[in-house]
């Protein structure tokens, strides 16, 4: 219990000043790192060849974001393919196949970190650093930059007061925003976290794997190979940057990646720290603290509901073990040093925030426990991925303002600017691609069972496939990892899903912000819809739940809900008739 209190408590306590600091950074106000970083950043701008005072339109901003990111991805792809003959490869790992390299590049360029490879076996140190760690820093910075540009647009852009009517507005300079996010937020924080992690035992070396002689040799097996490497530097940014892609296959469940309950606290706080700080930042940056509080309240309500559900589910027993051991929580796939509650909390925080790192195997969660991460990813904005989480929230805000406007019979307005057909259509596209890109490939894959590579039968097999596409769309990256997902089918379809689901939900709101920026501002009157009220907050929560979950209710019934109601009682029927009868009584099924 203390874990839950400390994780949420510390995150809020640190996020508040961090959000204030980030708002100052993006408003180009003085901050304490100025003396060191101002000249460094000037050097970087000179090397990129840009004029840092040059503003961009929404379209210029989008193009800079898209193409600079794509080129980062291309270089990473080449490093993965040719890693076998490149330096920093002490364990002699060969190059990747084209489809796995494609998926890995797509996954990391979209801040997703879905992994169809196992890091300690399939990536050289160079790939882990240049291909993985670098993208883990650049992509959250890109998301944060996009959010900052959109917020500028919603309030008329920079220099709004002197802009000429009808002219496109200045949403800032992409390269400057992304550079500041990296030099002033992500790298300093990662450096501190990495050292804390190494102090507790996360490896930090360029030497190759270690070999140990087993204390109790098992037949012919007398040695153990212990993979090490520059792990801590990567784990730090993986946690802080809503990335999630770990050094080792099972991620932060591995003791070398998350050695103690204390590192679990640090890593859990890091999952939500910047996402929550961004909500505070929005309040300061837009100088509408009540708006920041509205968002924080809505998100926190959803976050806590999900956390309570999954913690309760995982502290309940795993029915499979009935009769085989003393009663206890669901320990399958969980580490002894954490136990059920911190593992369950991590599972929901990592899927709410588009992080996707894990410290326990979601595949082995109870059916209800496994459904909570899916719902977190479907909502994907409490508190959401860095930058993009709040952008998703804004899309729902546009829709909720539109619906509320219809209900009170007035033209919907946000911050004094009218939301008209063009903007609402764009917001609707950003919403509708979600069921399209998740349900269609899920249905196709399930129609050809040879494609899916499930490790589990029945209802849970449906859950595995649905989880994979949901995770790809949410740019989350966690998985029901029993899935045999390193195949051409999985690599290619999820790559497409990843790219579309990253860039469409950024560019549609960026365009909306660009269109809104040039609109005339109507003064707020008594008849204006006020969004910073409890009633509107409740409306917004309802809109989020209804629009997100209604689309997916049928597949949730075929997956986790069916598993809970039918499969679990059946498997335990032979063991514990009492339990089955109790659950049947609970769910009202006749004998």
């Amino acid at each position: 219990m203390i874990d839950v209190v400390l994780i949420y408590g510390l995150a809020f306590l640190l996020a508040w000043p961090l959000g204030h600091y980030m708002a100052r950074v993006f408003r180009s106000e003085r901050t304490w790192l100025d003396p060191i970083l101002n000249s460094l950043e000037r050097g970087l701008y000179w090397l990129i060849g840009i004029n840092s005072t040059q503003g961009m339109t929404w379209f210029g901003y989008a193009r800079a974001l898209l193409f600079s990111n794509l080129l980062v991805g291309v270089v990473a792809y080449l490093v993965f393919i040719f890693q076998g003959s490149l330096p920093l490869n002490p364990n002699g790992i060969p190059g990747m196949s084209w489809d796995l390299a494609l998926h890995t590049a797509a996954s990391f360029i979209t801040n997703t970190n879905q992994q169809h490879y196992s890091g300690q076996a399939q990536l050289s140190y160079l790939s882990q650093m240049v291909g993985i760690t670098a993208l883990q820093i650049v992509t959250p910075a890109a998301g944060l930059a996009a959010l900052v540009a959109i917020l500028r647009g919603l309030f008329g852009g920079r220099y709004a007061s002197t802009a000429t009517a009808g002219e496109p507005r200045d949403l800032g300079n992409y390269y400057v925003d992304v550079t500041k996010a990296i030099t002033r937020v992500l790298i300093p924080m990662s450096l501190v976290l990495a050292l804390l992690l190494t102090w507790q035992g996360v490896p930090s070396t360029f030497e190759g794997a270690k070999t140990a002689t087993l204390v109790d040799p098992q037949g012919e097996v007398t040695e153990q190979t212990i993979p090490v490497g520059p792990v801590a530097a990567m784990v730090a940014i993986k946690q802080l940057g809503t990335n999630g892609g770990g050094w080792y296959g099972p991620n932060s469940a591995v003791p070398l990646e998350n050695p103690t309950p204390l590192t679990n606290l640090f890593e859990s706080v890091s999952i939500i720290l910047i996402p929550i700080a961004i909500v505070f930042m929005v309040g300061y940056f837009t100088r509408r603290k009540r708006f920041g509080m509205l968002a924080l309240g809505v998100m926190t309500v959803i976050s806590v509901v999900l956390a309570v559900t999954v913690i309760a589910a995982e502290n309940g027993s795993n029915p499979t073990f009935q009769g085989l051991a003393a009663a206890g929580p669901n320990w399958e796939g969980k580490e002894t040093r954490f136990g059920p509650t911190p593992s369950a909390l991590w599972a929901t925080l990592t899927t709410q925030t588009s992080n996707g790192s894990v410290n326990a195997m979601h595949d082995s969660f109870t059916p209800v426990g496994g459904m909570v991460p899916m719902i977190g990813m479907l909502i994907n904005e409490t508190y959401g991925g860095i930058g993009v989480g709040f952008v998703n929230f804004l899309v729902f805000l546009f829709i909720a303002v539109f619906i509320a406007g219809l209900m009170v019979g007035r033209t919907p307005e946000l911050f004094g600017r009218k939301l008209e057909a063009k903007e609402v259509k764009l917001a609707a596209i950003a919403l509708l691609i979600q069921p399209l890109l998740i349900l269609v490939p899920t249905a196709i894959a399930l129609s050809f069972p040879d494609l899916t590579g499930n490790s589990n039968p029945g209802f849970h097999g449906i859950s595995q496939v649905f989880y994979e596409y949901t995770s790809a769309f949410a740019n989350n990256g966690s998985g029901f990892e029993g899935l045999g997902d390193n195949t051409i089918w999985w690599n290619v379809t999820t790559s497409a899903n990843l790219i579309l689901a990253r860039f469409i939900p950024i560019f549609a709101p960026l365009a909306i912000a660009g269109f809104l920026a040039v609109k005339r501002v109507a003064p707020e009157t008594a008849g204006t819809l006020r969004i910073e009220t409890p009633i509107f907050a409740a409306t917004l929560v309802s809109v989020i739940f209804i629009l997100t979950l209604l689309n997916f209710l049928p597949v949730l019934v075929l997956g986790p809900i069916g598993e809970q109601l039918v499969a679990v009682p059946e498997i335990t029927a032979s063991v514990d008739q009492e339990w089955v009868q109790a659950s049947r009584a609970l769910f009202g099924r006749p004998q």
């Binding site: 800079a64 820093i137 209802f459």
Partner: protein, 207 residues
């Protein structure tokens, strides 16, 4: 909020740069974030915490016998035995994995039945006395710990096999139990360090 006068004379950039800008941006940040940041951080960690940075290795008589943070397979009656492992053939750090079996998966039931029967026979107890973590596979496949209850279950077998007193063995368990001082997570008994301590004790006695 923003300066109210345009500080620059240029018109807005509608194009978002050109190919050479994108390429320079990509290469520059791949070097900064992919080489400078990880190399500086890794070196610093290695200098400040050399033991942890190299994998928290444990040595006995100058031979590396494992890492404090990586569980090992044990099967002899003279040793405490860890949780079931889905990493390769068991506790193989080159193929780390959980079972990834769902509660509704018959394979999980089969494995749990086998574990339960094996432990009940080995420790000479009723299945209802086995702590459930001892028949559940960990997430990493190399969980170095078992719960204190799971260690207590094995005391009489190990004590008998080594000709030690139960109290002596229990004391070693207590010494090798790691717990957070502020109550984070769960207390865990480090199986490898416990078994090394047992070996050291037996070795000392036989001399």
């Amino acid at each position: 909020m923003q300066p109210s006068v345009k500080v620059q004379a240029e018109t807005l950039d509608r194009s978002g740069g050109e190919f050479s800008t994108w390429l320079r941006f990509a290469l520059l940040f791949l070097i900064l974030c992919g080489l400078i940041y990880p190399i500086a951080t890794t070196r610093l960690g290695d200098v400040l915490f050399p033991r942890q940075a190299q994998g928290s290795l444990l040595e006995r008589d100058g031979v590396v016998v494992g890492s404090e943070l990586v569980g090992q397979p044990f099967s002899s009656d003279r040793y405490f035995i860890g949780r079931p492992s889905a990493a390769g053939d068991g506790y193989d750090p080159t193929s780390l994995s959980g079972s990834n079996w769902a509660a509704s998966n018959p394979d999980l039931r089969t494995r749990a039945e086998a574990s339960s029967a094996e432990i009940a026979a080995r420790e000479n107890v009723d299945p209802s006395e086995i702590p459930v973590d001892l028949i559940a596979a960990s997430g990493s496949g190399v969980d170095p710990h078992i719960s204190p209850a799971a260690a207590r279950l094995q005391v009489s077998r190990v004590a008998e096999a080594r000709g030690l007193g139960a109290a002596q063995v229990q004391q070693l368990i207590d010494e090798n139990t790691e717990r957070s001082p502020i109550g984070l997570g769960q207390p865990g008994v480090n199986v490898l360090t416990l078994n090394l301590a047992l070996d050291a004790l037996s070795f000392g006695q036989s001399n």
